[in-house]
């Protein structure tokens, strides 16, 4: 079989970021190859909780997050599917005065930076928004227009749109080595090699390995993050629920199931490619959910799973060019909040590659911030 080996850009990693970058590049008529070691969206991209949140986001990420949210509200025009997007809002509940103070401090901070997307509500307004909370909340910080989408559907839609636009995707074989020949990078995968002047590293939890191949030092720790999902139940709640100080995080999906998460740790297997569930962690989460919503105690948990995510020391992603003039770009290490950013990351990387600049300040996301 004759295989095309020359591309404009090789994207390493077929998760959501990789597919988003590829499809945006394809709009610019770039010839793009995605190399995916496993299958597209198999890891964090496809198995995360699906929350779309500007609420309580690290301030450095807010500009990107705001732009991404705009794109989510019109996601169908980007990928031809609504990706299960539901703008139900997100709330961060306070149970006592201390929580309230934490949330008010946060609200103050973003207000001073000129943002207006987060707003404090009182107990009564909270009860109106989340009747099921009863008298177990004294107020909340909310963000209207936030919400959630379906990660599996999203990955599928992004991949299909990328393919429609002519992106080539190779799945099932990872990158074993890369080397620079004159203006070209040669990327080795399985028995093949591909050439392109530009490489984008979207390898997620394995992004540090790819960065190292390109000579860029980074710092990334793999973590297994677990979720549980319940049987379907009649619709009882709209917004995505979080909490100021407790590990409470869940949403009711459109199909009626509850997806419960909130930084629950899973267990990474020895090969670092698979995960196990740590039920003592799940127990704690179940206790919290039951203490806030006691009527959920008879709701069956049908399935738990965990995905693998790459966490940076400062929990900020690595976004931007590698070594000057190298033709390598990075977008990885999203530290468990990359799902919402995916649409804008594609645009930012495309701007960097095609125009050499972007409207966003990427200073906080530089890869060389980890240099010793």
């Amino acid at each position: 079989m004759n295989v095309d080996t020359q591309f404009d850009v090789v994207v390493i990693g077929g998760g959501l970021q990789g597919c988003s970058v590829a499809l945006h590049l394809a709009h610019e008529k770039k010839r793009v190859l995605i190399i995916e070691r496993d299958s597209c969206g198999q890891h964090a991209s496809g198995v995360n909780a699906g929350g779309l949140r500007r609420l309580n986001r690290l301030v450095e990420e807010i500009p990107l997050s705001m732009a991404a949210q705009k794109m989510w509200h019109d996601i169908e025009s980007l990928v031809g599917s609504d990706c299960g997007f539901r703008p139900t809002g997100q709330v961060r509940i306070a149970s006592n005065q201390e929580d309230l103070a934490t949330l008010e401090e946060r609200a103050q901070k973003t207000r001073l930076l000129g943002y207006r997307h987060e707003e404090m509500i009182n107990a009564e307004a909270l009860r109106k928004m989340v009747p099921a909370i009863g008298n177990r909340g004294v107020g909340a910080l909310i963000c209207r227009g936030d919400g959630f989408a379906d990660p599996a559907l999203t990955c599928l839609a992004f991949r299909l749109r990328a393919e429609d636009l002519g992106v080539t995707i190779r799945q099932g074989s990872g990158v074993s080595a890369i080397e620079k020949n004159n203006q070209n990078w040669r990327v080795y995968t399985g028995a093949h090699s591909f050439d392109a002047p530009t490489i984008v590293n979207c390898a997620g939890a394995w992004g540090d390995r790819i960065a190292a191949m390109a000579g860029d030092h980074s710092s990334l720790k793999k973590t297994a993050l677990a979720l549980m999902v319940t049987a379907r139940l009649p619709h009882f709640i709209d917004p995505v629920i979080g909490h100021a100080s407790r590990k409470l995080s869940f949403k009711q999906m459109s199909n009626g199931t509850l997806v419960i998460g909130g930084a629950l740790k899973g267990i990474l297997t020895e090969n670092q490619k698979d995960t196990l569930i740590d039920f003592p962690q799940m127990k704690e989460s179940a206790e919290t959910v039951c203490s806030f919503f006691p009527f959920l105690k008879d709701l069956p948990v049908v399935r738990c799973w965990a995905g693998i995510e790459g966490m940076t020391p400062d929990k900020l992603p690595i976004i931007g060019p590698g070594k000057a003039g190298s033709g390598v770009f990075h977008a990885f290490g999203f530290s468990a909040h990359g799902y919402q950013l995916a649409p804008i990351i594609g645009r930012v990387m495309t701007d960097l590659i095609c125009r050499g600049k972007t409207e966003f300040d990427l200073e906080a996301f530089r890869i060389n911030r980890f240099l010793p």
């Binding site: 009747p131 049987a231 379907r232 009649p234 009882f236 009626g256 009527f295 709701l299």
Partner: protein, 103 residues
């Protein structure tokens, strides 16, 4: 849908409430079997299209026998034996919460 072979065996009779009607069944029977022997042929309606379903495997594999037993939904009726005074209802569609929830 099912028939008892020996209605008059010396097994204890037990009364359960199925869909608001008292029915006499025999001790040792599973809830699924007891209900299917009571001239009914379905035990739940499906979660998505709402069609009638009945137990398929009778050994806890297929989850077609999910019913509401003593107010708790999603119970496997083929794995649970009848008990005097038990309240059994068909499970209609997706049922996650116990009884009526006051939220």
């Amino acid at each position: 849908m099912l028939k008892r072979l020996h209605e008059n065996s010396d097994r204890k009779k037990v009364t359960i409430n199925f869909e608001g009607v008292q029915i006499e069944v025999l001790a040792g029977e599973t809830v699924a079997a007891a209900v299917l022997a009571a001239e009914t042929d379905y035990t739940r309606t499906s979660a998505i299209s709402g069609v009638h379903r009945a137990p398929y495997c009778q050994m806890g594999i297929c989850f077609e026998c999910l019913m509401e037993i003593d107010g708790v939904p999603n119970r496997q009726a083929c794995m649970i034996e009848v008990r005097e005074g038990m309240k059994v209802n068909r499970q209609h569609g997706a049922r996650g919460l116990s009884d009526e929830v006051s939220v």
